[in-house]
Amino acid sequence: MYTEKVMDHFEHPRNVGEIENPSGMGTVGNAKCGDIMRIYLDIDENQIIRDVKFKTFGCGAAVATSSMATTMVKGKSVQEAMEVTNKAVMEALDGLPPVKVHCSLLAEEAIHAALWDYAQKNGIEIKGLQKPKTDISEGEEEEEY
């Protein structure tokens, strides 16, 4: 059901854990399916993401996208981290099954939430960053069958 890359990141997730006194932390959930993702960022004085950790309560795709997303933002500036979209993460994983696309949104939103927390604390503006939603299922439409 999943690509080899997804399975690799699921079985050997990178950057699982917590950061004490993080520069930014974000927790987002999808109340619809019940999943929760948390990202911790350690950002240095040049606004470079020195370290990143995650925790995820969700499916295989949620774990794999969190893991991949953390590897993609690590070492980047906070502005560059904005380019790590759910699409970019999915591409890096060689794709996800259609029912799992929403899980990759969780990773993007969690990073944004952590960046927002950092930006708020330090009075910085990150271009393109908006106040994140805590529940990403808001506004999603139910499909009729």
Partner: protein, 395 residues
Amino acid sequence: MKQLIYLDNAATTKTRPEVVQAMLPYFTEYYGNPSSVYDFSAPCKKAIADARETIAKSIGAKTNEIYFTVGGTESDNWAIKATADAYKDKGKHIITSKIEHHAVLHTCEYLEKQGYEVTYLDVDEFGVVKLDELKKAIRPDTILISIMFANNEIGTIEPIREIGEIAKEHGILFHTDAVQAYAHVPINVDELHIDMLSASGHKLNGPKGVGFLYIRSGVKIRSFMHGGAQERKRRGGTENVPGIVGLGKAVELAMADMDERAAKETELRDYLIGRVLAEVPYARLNGHPANRLSNNANFAFQFIEGESMLIMLDSDGICGSSGSACTSGSLDPSHVLLAIGLPHEIAHGSLRLTLSEENTKEQIDFVVERIKAIVQRLRNMSPLYEDFMRKSGKR
């Protein structure tokens, strides 16, 4: 091939080799159409009659009350839609429960769109239908009560005799989806006052794509598949002769060793449940502690998600299933787990393991060890577990 520990017998079962052997001649030797007049077709006709007799006997029914179908879904659809149609002059109210299989629930939802009214009964925390609610739900225009014999997810066995008595007292038809229970627990349709019963071959070590509907004689029921004169004109279509033969053989074998099988499964099941509850913290058993199918164990592990668990079990060759929202495709957790009162996040961590007599204690020991390791690993990456440990001052 990697090792296989198959613990998903509620999803489907292995076809017994004797069943396959019994079926084979009906592909290449006796391939005649049972409806034809020549002698060549006679063995096919006889094979169907024999299977029908074996099945009728197994539930205390008459042979002309057994109708072959393609399985549980068709039997459920037929029983409900056709009675709804045949009895619509009496009324348009149907009573069922919140924990039925989708074959029943979605059929009822379809009928609601056609102008029928459906009452979905609540269940208690163990998944048992509330009889007082059933009595209260009955109205003069109630035409059908459809309650499953045993639940496919949590294994709870329903009070079928009591429900049958209530239905009979009020002159209402009683259908039961016995797909999980048939040939696993003893069933006598007269003693239990069952008017219609659905069963499926692949849940009792028979072939897939064949099952039956028992319809008590006297029940007005419309034809479901319009076509030829097969199945007393109630169900057109050339019979699946090999499938029916296989179903008959599977029933014969399952009925012969039912008690022995159940005893073996129960012992293994209770060993599994006992070890998991004792050795995995923050775990619970879903379903009734005693009145449950002999092969069903259903757990909920707090703070983790079921699909992740299934993938990790799969890498050790262990097959199980989960009612987690992430496995459902619809992003909703199992309706059964919600109906027994589990909050979404706990339903998320559900794991169903359904055994067969082929499983061994060694396999169960291995599975328990894997579950312990997997649950711990997933908790270590769970933000919910982190919050819980913080709040409870454990770190």
